[in-house]
């Protein structure tokens, strides 16, 4: 049986959450189903793509982890390079 639109949207949302480091608990799955439900409704009433609608709504449904990136470089302590002038 080919994947339905809602199944594709749910897969996409869950994959994103997994990649973002969210543990896929029962609660998370329930919220993902609610999100897809809302996206389907929006697509039916306003037209548009279910996948896109689901991804657009995702930040409103989940607090995505925002791991801090390491400090790439320390504060500047500038030096100048000396060139001999003959």
């Amino acid at each position: 049986m080919p994947d339905t639109v809602c199944q594709q949207a749910l897969d996409r949302v869950l994959t994103y959450l997994d990649q973002a480091g969210v543990a896929l608990s029962d609660d998370v799955c329930r919220r993902a189903l609610n999100l897809v439900d809302a996206a389907l409704l929006e697509a039916r009433t306003c037209g548009g793509d279910v996948l896109q609608a689901a991804m657009d709504r995702l930040p409103g449904y989940f607090d995505l982890p925002q791991p801090a990136a390491p400090t790439p470089w320390p504060p500047l302590a500038r030096g100048s390079i000396g060139y001999r002038h003959d």
């Binding site: 994959t15 996948l51 470089w73 302590a77 500038r78 000396g82 001999r84």
Partner: protein, 693 residues
């Protein structure tokens, strides 16, 4: 620095005069022998040319020989008492407080996981030494390929997390690569040069133990006149037969050569570009590299920066020391002959460029000018040897095909010049040349036997067998290197551009590659030998030591590039080195970290940078905020093509334009996750989902 000249200079002067008198005295005697060996005793232009070339080449190998003899004698008598390490008792050194030191790792298209794992091992070893707080680590990338630099950024993040090194391990990538590696280091110094008193420079394959790093800083603290302190890195991790031969030769012979070299150079030593510590303020003040103002090869940025920086440091009154007593400093050999020769193409160009600096740069110390000469001769010796062979062939042709000339050009008078042949003198000359080449190897064997450390090389018998094997292979490789280096020198002088790229640190050579690269040499070797046979059987036999290795170049090449023979010999404890038998936490760590998986996915670094929310966020933070008000400034056509057909639809420059821009990266992430299931990105996301379930 205007202080009184240090005491070591007088001793260095004596040692150098001694060395020069041995080298030139021996060369004079050998030249005299050659004159009597030549049929007209130097009475023709060809013979004079042969004499001149012979003298230069003989003196060149005599320098190597006497350096090894110096090293042997010094090691026999307990080491050089003038060396930096011997000046300070270990307990005094151990009590010397450390100063903040930057460990910098410039990289350019290196294997990311492998290189960073080495740095991780160094970091861990410093942690074990309990001195991590005094060191900062900087990965300085010049990589241009987004697949590589995005992987570097992701690996740096992982490394920071694994080592809990946030704020101690930094990453900086230049987007404008000016002046190669020295430009990369200069860029670092311009930004953070005043943060650290010292800077330790690593190569991608460098490993330095925590103990050695600490000792280096302590020595620099004790010796404020020293601007650069260079260790003598041992080659390790050889897997192919070629790399194992290089590794064995380096580990066994290098202590003699390095001890001798350090004793002669003393505070006028060279900098080899890595595995060394530099006094940052002195380096910044005095070692700026201006572009050369000459033409062709002798114009533009300096290619081989390290020797020049050492010379500039010396000119400013600072000392540069090679300290062979600083052990636990390691690097790796190129895995195959092709890789070595490819690296040599760059080095030959860089060293020949030093000719302009050696001759015309004002104020340099004489010893540093000689160091330039040494580097230049490393490659120039090959075309000189080739020219000597050509003149020898011309001489043989003249003797065989032309009537005897009793009154050659330049010979005046009524008495004819009788051609003479003195085979016993020729034999003496050949034996003396062979002695210069091979005796140091047996001195190295004697050195290990006297010290009772032959066990580390597989025991006395296996060590000797390994040396004999190494000699056979080095005889097979010498003519191949000679021909290739001659080509490199000609290309450099004609200013033919050489590609600047990272080394291959893993691959094996194929038969096709070997045949393509070695065919010209094989044809020259066979043709020359056949010609010699038609001239004179004696000349034919004389040509064989050069011709046979050339004819066998392709099989030699392939055999040496294989890991199988290297492993088989190791199992028989041939070509082994002490580090392989005894182990060292630093090396064990490096091997273990490198064998672990890198942490990336099969997506590739670019696709992962776009799809993975965590990595996309990281790359966005590291990218430049180019647009205004969150607008990606790349043309919509570019992002459209990227989203429609994936990264392969864009050139490297186009990809860089998108992926170096913070707003574009964020937009690509949003668009890719909204792409339809059948699209390029949709399929990648599907694969990600399948992989995680």
């Amino acid at each position: 620095m205007t202080e009184r000249s240090p005491a070591w200079r007088r001793r260095a002067l004596v040692r150098r005069w001694l060395m020069a008198s041995f080298v030139f005295g021996q060369t004079l005697v050998a030249g005299y022998y050659l004159l009597w060996v030549l049929p007209y005793h130097g009475g023709t232009i060809v013979e004079l040319g042969m004499l001149g070339l012979f003298a230069v080449l003989y003196a060149w190998i005599a320098v190597g020989f006497w350096t090894a003899v110096f090293g042997f004698v010094l090691r026999l008598t307990g080491g050089d008492r003038q060396s930096l390490l011997r000046r300070h008792p270990p307990e005094v050194l151990a009590q010397t407080p450390l100063q903040k030191t930057a460990v910098v790792l410039p990289v350019y298209h290196e294997p990311v996981h492998w290189t960073f794992s080495g740095l991780k091992a160094v970091f861990r070893d410093l942690e074990r030494a309990g001195q991590l707080e005094h060191f900062e680590f900087y990965i300085l990338s010049d990589s241009r390929d987004p697949e590589v630099w995005l992987e570097e950024q992701a690996a740096w993040r992982r490394l920071c997390r694994e080592l809990d090194a946030d704020g101690r391990l930094f990453y900086r990538r230049r987007t404008v690569n000016l002046n190669y590696k020295s430009g990369n280091v200069a860029d670092f110094l311009r930004r953070w040069g005043r943060r650290c008193r010292y800077m330790v420079v690593l190569d991608a394959d460098s490993l330095l133990s925590g103990k050695t790093l600490v000792r280096m800083v302590q020595l620099m603290e004790r010796e404020p006149r020293v601007g650069i302190l260079q260790t003598n890195p041992a080659i390790i991790n050889g897997r192919t037969l070629f790399a194992r031969l290089q590794q064995f030769a380096n580990r066994l012979y290098s202590p003699l050569f390095a001890t001798g070299l350090a004793a002669i150079q003393m505070g006028d030593a060279a900098f080899w570009g890595h595995n060394a510590i530099l006094r940052t303020d002195a380096f910044m003040k005095h070692c700026g590299l201006r572009k050369l103002r000459g033409r062709g090869l002798f114009g533009g940025p300096i290619l081989s920066h390290d020797f020049v920086e050492a010379a500039y440091m010396g000119r400013a009154g600072f000392e540069v020391w090679l300290e062979p007593g600083l052990s636990q400093s390691f690097e790796e050999s190129p895995p195959t002959l092709a890789d070595e020769l490819s690296r040599d193409a760059r080095w030959a160009r860089g060293n020949l460029q030093h000719l302009a600096i050696m001759l015309f740069e004002p104020g340099l110390r004489f010893a540093h000018r000689m160091a330039f000469m040494n580097g230049i001769m490393s490659y120039l010796a090959s075309p000189l040897w080739l020219a000597f062979l050509v003149l020898t062939t011309i001489e043989a042709v003249q003797m065989t095909l032309l009537p005897i000339d009793y009154f050659p050009e330049g010979h005046q008078g009524l008495i004819p010049l009788w051609p003479e042949w003195r085979p016993e003198w020729a034999l003496g000359l050949a034996v003396s040349t062979l002695m210069l080449l091979f005796l140091p190897k047996f001195l190295a064997v004697a050195d290990q036997l006297i010290r009772g450390s032959a066990r580390g090389f597989g025991g006395a018998v296996r060590m000797l067998a390994s040396v004999l094997l190494e000699i056979v292979i080095s005889v097979l490789l010498a003519p191949v290197r000679m021909l290739t280096h001659s080509r490199h020198v000609i290309q450099a002088l004609l200013n033919v551009t050489v590609r600047w790229a990272g080394q291959n640190r893993t691959g094996e050579a194929t038969w096709r590659q070997a045949l393509v690269t070695q065919l010209p040499g094989m044809v020259i070797g066979a043709g020359w030998s056949a010609f010699a046979f038609t001239l004179d059987p004696m000349f034919f036999f004389w040509s064989l030591p050069v011709a046979i290795p050339l004819v066998l170049a392709a099989p030699t090449h392939v055999l040496l590039s294989r890991t199988g023979p290297g492993t088989a010999l190791r199992k028989r404890r041939l070509l082994v080195i002490p580090e392989e038998q005894e182990g060292l936490p630093l090396l064990d760590d490096a091997a273990r970290f490198r064998s672990e998986t890198g942490g990336g996915t099969s997506l590739g670094a670019v696709a992962e940078a776009v799809l993975n929310p965590v990595l996309n966020r990281l790359h966005c933070q590291l990218a430049r905020p180019r647009g205004h008000h969150g607008r990606c400034r790349a043309p919509a056509e570019l992002t459209g093509r990227f989203i429609k057909a994936g990264p392969d639809a864009l050139s490297r420059q186009e990809l860089c334009r998108l992926l170096q821009d913070r707003d574009c990266l964020a937009r690509l992430h949003t668009q890719a996750w909204r792409a339809g299931p059948e699209s390029w990105w949709g399929q990648r996301i599907q694969a990600l989902g399948d992989g995680s379930r």
